[in-house]
């Protein structure tokens, strides 16, 4: 595969015209959803991302990314787990769909492929 235009055949194109590629934040969130297994809800994702990337972001950005991903069919969500915290409100837990998993696999393999092509020894300053 040559570098350049990346296409993700796994994404349902009819559902989403823009869905051909996913952005960097979308990718990070998608990965985190996968990594957190059953515990992926917005605040947990936020905490994880802030901790791992050290980036300063707020929960509303995560919300809007999650809604976008759900619309693209890459994640699915369900409401559960009412507790005394959060004023008794339930949480919306997210999980990867097969399509989401496929997108991640595709992205990773493209990255790996390109990464392998890097010369083993780099010169200073390159």
């Amino acid at each position: 595969m040559s570098s350049g235009h990346l296409r993700f055949s796994a994404v349902d194109k009819k559902n989403n015209m823009k869905g051909e590629t996913i952005g960097e934040l979308e990718e990070l969130v998608l990965l985190t959803v996968g990594a957190l297994l059953q515990e992926a809800y917005a605040v947990a994702i936020l905490d994880e991302l802030v901790e791992k990337t050290g980036r300063n972001m707020d929960v509303t950005a995560i919300h809007s990314v999650l809604r976008r991903l759900e619309k693209k069919g890459l994640v699915k969500s369900e409401m559960r787990g009412a507790t005394n915290e959060r004023g008794g409100r339930r949480k919306r837990f997210f999980d990867l769909t097969p399509a989401g998993r496929a997108v991640l696999d595709e992205t990773m393999s493209v990255r790996m492929e390109l990464y392998q092509k890097l010369p083993k020894l780099t010169f200073f300053g390159i």
Binding site: A42, V43, V59, T60, H63, M79, R92
Partner: protein
């Protein structure tokens, strides 16, 4: 722990807002997430920070993807929903003629409003750029010695700066500044006369003039430092870095080298303090004499004070007289010599306090223009309203149908408001766009200097203004339309759906404003024409004035005056070789400048008298063709005349009460040897705003100076060489002058003025106002015509059948035209009649500014009425005429 935090809740309104906008299916988890973060923040940072975070998150969550689009927004009447917009677009598109008229009218109205508004805003923005402006005041000096000996000045003695600093702890800072004209060395032998400001070293701690280079608050590092504006830095040093370079200035007595220590940004036009070159006023001590430094009545400085944050200017006002009395001693009585303070932002538009160093504006003109801009916009809105009411005849059925189908009133109103808002926003876009593009044209047309710089918040302002105009203009038609009862609409085919009288009042109002503006423009035109063509009593066509300089920089005024007069002689000798130059004379003041030397003395009976004086040579009377009514002119070469003869004007003879003036003296005891040899007919040596004042013409000022107690002059009293040019090209006189000047005074730069230009400039403000009002008049005529055109079309349409029937019965085309023309005639007549008293009242206020003025006269009203009638008829005629020509069969068959 967690149980405790549960008691702290986020702000209620934020929660409520979230509930209002959020999609219900997203609400629960979203709110839960926000609450979780809120609780966490309460524990780590406390309730306040948590509240802030929560509000921030609620606002940030207000995104397209979270908004409940289905219910809330669509039924909310203020939102321009897609449905309303679609209908509005269709309606507007269907009636293109009407829509075009509406948009055109509003666009022109907004164009006029925005330009006038920008002008007014610019005038109001004076001195607003200083961050401490609310605490900065300018001192003024009010002296009243009885007998009308009142001296009111915004320039103050030099000693006020140290005095205020010492006596008034309320002041954080006191600074002074003033301007002197000094020769600055440009290069080699080339000297340029420049206005140099002498400012207090702390000047920039009070005012926020921006520095480009150098220390912002303390730009002077030494005594002989110089601050340049960017423009002047380029003028003297080109592209080089000016800081550290030197510039040589010829001060009062000595030639001094200054070092540039700072470059400031050019001071913007809307500042009451203007300078390009500044040096420290620490130099005052060496430059000026005891009288200037310590005198109580030698005024030259503008004194600005910065009041402490917790002090008030009133506490200074309360004690200033006491403090002054401790210094003034026995020569002054209490309350004869008083100090007051005026807010910095008040300076530019307050006519009560005299102007200081820089000119100020007339607030009346600013407000008049603001009101006119507003009136024109109002006419444009009225236009829209009348046209829409008219159109409601056509739309009544549509409304009825909508109501029958169950449309609520709110929905209908929002539908019609949407239409007018769309029209207003399109007009706003066009109007503001044109206004901003048209600023150079506007400046050229009116002679004002309008500068517009875009800022983002203006977009919001314009948008808001568009919404406001749309709502106001559309409000009435919307309610008229929707309030009509369904049955009356559906039963009768000819209900108008609106009240006729409202429309008629609005049309009358439109006529009234238009006629008012036309009459005012005409009257102002008449007055300005009168000012410009009035015989001033002397001949000033193509007269050139060249100010001279004195070779010595110090010494008594009379010595320096004599030196400058010798220079005038030198220049005259060289210029005389050119045959097209004639009528040479040297005079201390030239015509067309106000503020000739103003002198006062106490006469033998103890009353206080004042007069103006001009120092001339023997050619003066002949050069300007002044008429002698008594006695004789100065004789050339007569040394007695040169030493002691004076000539008075008629007003002076009357003022001094001389019944037989020849060989008499002025009625004061201390004057030197002098005698009156002649009397000239009165001539208007200052502007026609003022009455002619007593004038003394003399060749030798010394004996007169000996007897006076007060002087004041705004115009420089140094001699000017005046001569008349009889050639055809004014460029040629410039060439001759430049050549001869550089031959006579190779190291000095030349200044000269044409007297007729100076005289015209005295009425510049009035001419500018007239032009602005003229533009507004044209615009309002245009808008009113557009409105009238639209109304005519509507009336013709609604009376189609009537016209058809009349024609069938046998009415002629002319009769029918007359019938249609009569529709608006009484409204026009009423508008004209009502405008007359209003115009007379307004114009009398304006004319009071002139000592010499025209009478308002009936002719102006006849002309303006004729203009408006002719325009109205023209506008009405085309469509009416067309209506009379239609085959009645066609119109009767319609429907």
């Amino acid at each position: 722990m967690k149980d405790q935090t549960n008691h702290i809740n986020p702000p209620k309104w934020a929660t409520r807002f979230l509930h209002w906008y959020c999609k219900p299916e997203l609400l629960e988890d979203l709110e839960g997430d926000l609450l979780e973060l809120f609780d966490r923040k309460v524990e780590t940072k406390g309730a306040k920070a948590a509240n802030r975070l929560f509000i921030w998150l609620v606002l940030r969550s207000f995104r397209w993807s979270a908004i409940n689009k289905n219910q809330k927004l669509k039924t909310h009447s203020l939102m321009l929903t897609g449905q309303n917009l679609k209908v509005a677009a269709r309606v507007l598109w269907r009636d293109k003629f009407n829509t075009t008229l509406n948009i055109l009218g509003l666009t022109i109205g907004i164009l006029c409003f925005v330009q006038m508004g920008l002008y007014v805003a610019q005038e109001l923005s004076f001195d607003q750029m200083h961050s401490k402006k609310d605490r900065i005041y300018r001192a003024y000096l009010y002296e009243d010695y009885g007998d009308g000996r009142i001296f009111f000045n915004s320039v103050t003695p030099m000693r006020f700066e140290p005095l205020f600093k010492k006596e008034f702890s309320e002041f954080e800072n006191v600074v002074q500044w003033f301007k002197r004209t000094y020769a600055v060395q440009a290069s080699g032998d080339n000297w340029i006369n420049e206005e140099v400001a002498l400012i207090s070293p702390e000047f920039f701690q009070v005012f926020d003039f921006e520095m480009e280079k150098g220390n912002a608050s303390n730009p002077f590092t030494g005594r002989y430092d110089l601050i340049l504006s960017e423009g002047y830095a380029e003028k003297y040093f080109g592209k080089e870095d000016p800081v550290g370079q030197t510039l040589t200035i010829n001060l009062e007595k000595e030639v001094v080298e200054f070092t540039v220590s700072a470059v400031m940004k050019d001071i913007s036009d809307n500042s009451s303090i203007q300078f390009d070159l500044a040096i420290s006023n620490e130099l005052n001590q060496t430059l000026f004499g005891e009288q200037a430094l310590k005198g109580w009545t030698s005024v030259s400085q503008e004194t600005y004070v910065l009041v402490n944050e917790n002090s008030r200017i009133e506490s200074v006002n309360a004690k200033s007289q006491d403090v002054l009395m401790t210094y003034l001693g026995e020569n002054f009585n209490r309350d004869e010599y008083t100090v007051g303070f005026q807010e910095l932002t008040d300076i530019h538009l307050n006519p009560e306090v005299p102007a200081g160093i820089e000119a100020v504006s007339n607030p009346t003109y600013v407000y008049v223009l603001g009101i006119i801009g507003f009136l024109v916009l109002l006419i444009a809105c009225v236009n829209y309203t009348t046209l829409s009411i008219g159109k409601s005849i056509k739309r009544a059925k549509e409304v009825g149908m909508r109501k029958i189908l169950g449309a609520g009133k709110q929905l209908l109103v929002s539908q019609y408001l949407t239409e007018s808002i769309v029209v207003a926003l399109i007009s706003m876009l066009l109007g503001t766009g044109l206004a901003i593009i048209g600023i150079p044209t506007f400046n050229q047309l009116t002679g004002v200097n309008l500068i517009y710089s875009f800022e983002w918040w203006h977009l919001g302002l314009f948008l808001g203004l568009g919404l406001l105009i749309g709502s106001l203009a559309g409000m009435y038609p919307a309610f008229v339309l929707t309030n009509t009862r369904i049955m009356s609409i559906m039963q009768s085919s000819n209900t108008t759906g609106g009240k006729h009288w409202v429309r008629k009042v609005m049309v009358t109002f439109q006529f009234l404003v238009t006629v008012l503006l036309i009459s005012s423009t005409l009257i102002m035109q008449k007055q300005i024409g009168f000012l410009q063509s009035k015989n001033l009593g002397y001949d000033y066509e193509a007269v050139v004035a060249v100010p001279l300089f004195a070779n010595i920089q110090s010494g008594r005024f009379t010595e320096r005056y004599a030196s400058a007069r010798d220079n005038a002689q030198l220049l005259q000798q060289n210029l005389q070789q050119h045959p097209e130059l004639s009528n040479f004379t040297a005079s201390s003041h030239a015509f067309g400048t106000n503020g000739w030397m103003h002198l006062a003395f106490e006469d033998v009976k103890g009353s206080f008298l004042w007069f103006r004086m001009v120092g001339v040579d023997a050619n003066f009377i002949d050069a300007f063709d002044l008429k002698l009514v008594e006695g004789r002119n100065f004789e050339k070469g007569n040394t007695a005349d040169e030493r002691q003869s004076i000539i008075l004007n008629e007003t002076a003879v009357k003022y001094f009460g001389l019944t037989n003036p020849l060989e008499e003296k002025l009625p004061g005891s201390d004057f030197g040897e002098h005698r009156i040899v002649g009397v000239v007919e009165d001539f208007h040596y200052s502007s026609l705003h003022e009455e002619i004042e007593p004038l003394v013409i003399t060749q030798n000022m010394s004996p007169i100076f000996a007897g006076i107690s007060d002087t004041d002059f705004q115009d420089s009293p140094f001699p000017k060489l005046l001569f008349k040019y009889s050639g055809s090209s004014l460029l040629a006189v410039q060439d001759i002058l430049e050549e001869e000047w550089s031959r006579t005074f190779p190291n000095r730069n030349l200044e000269y003025e044409f007297i007729d230009e100076n005289i015209a400039r005295q009425y510049e403000n009035e001419a500018r106002l007239n032009k602005l009002i003229g533009v507004a008049t044209l615009i309002s005529i245009l808008i009113a015509s557009i409105g009238l055109l639209g109304l005519t079309v509507l009336v013709v349409n609604s009376r189609e059948k009537e016209i058809g029937i009349r024609k069938v019965i046998g009415a002629s085309s002319a009769q029918i035209f007359g019938l249609l023309a009569r529709t608006f005639s009484w409204q026009l007549a009423l508008g004209v009649i009502l405008s007359i008293p209003l115009t007379i009242w307004l114009m009398q206020q304006w004319l009071e500014d002139f000592a010499y003025r025209v009478s308002i006269g009936g002719d102006m009203f006849v002309i303006s009425t004729a203009i408006s009638v002719v325009i109205a008829l023209l506008v009405i005629s085309y469509h009416s005429w067309k209506a009379t020509k239609v085959n009645p069969v066609k119109s009767l068959r319609s429907e």
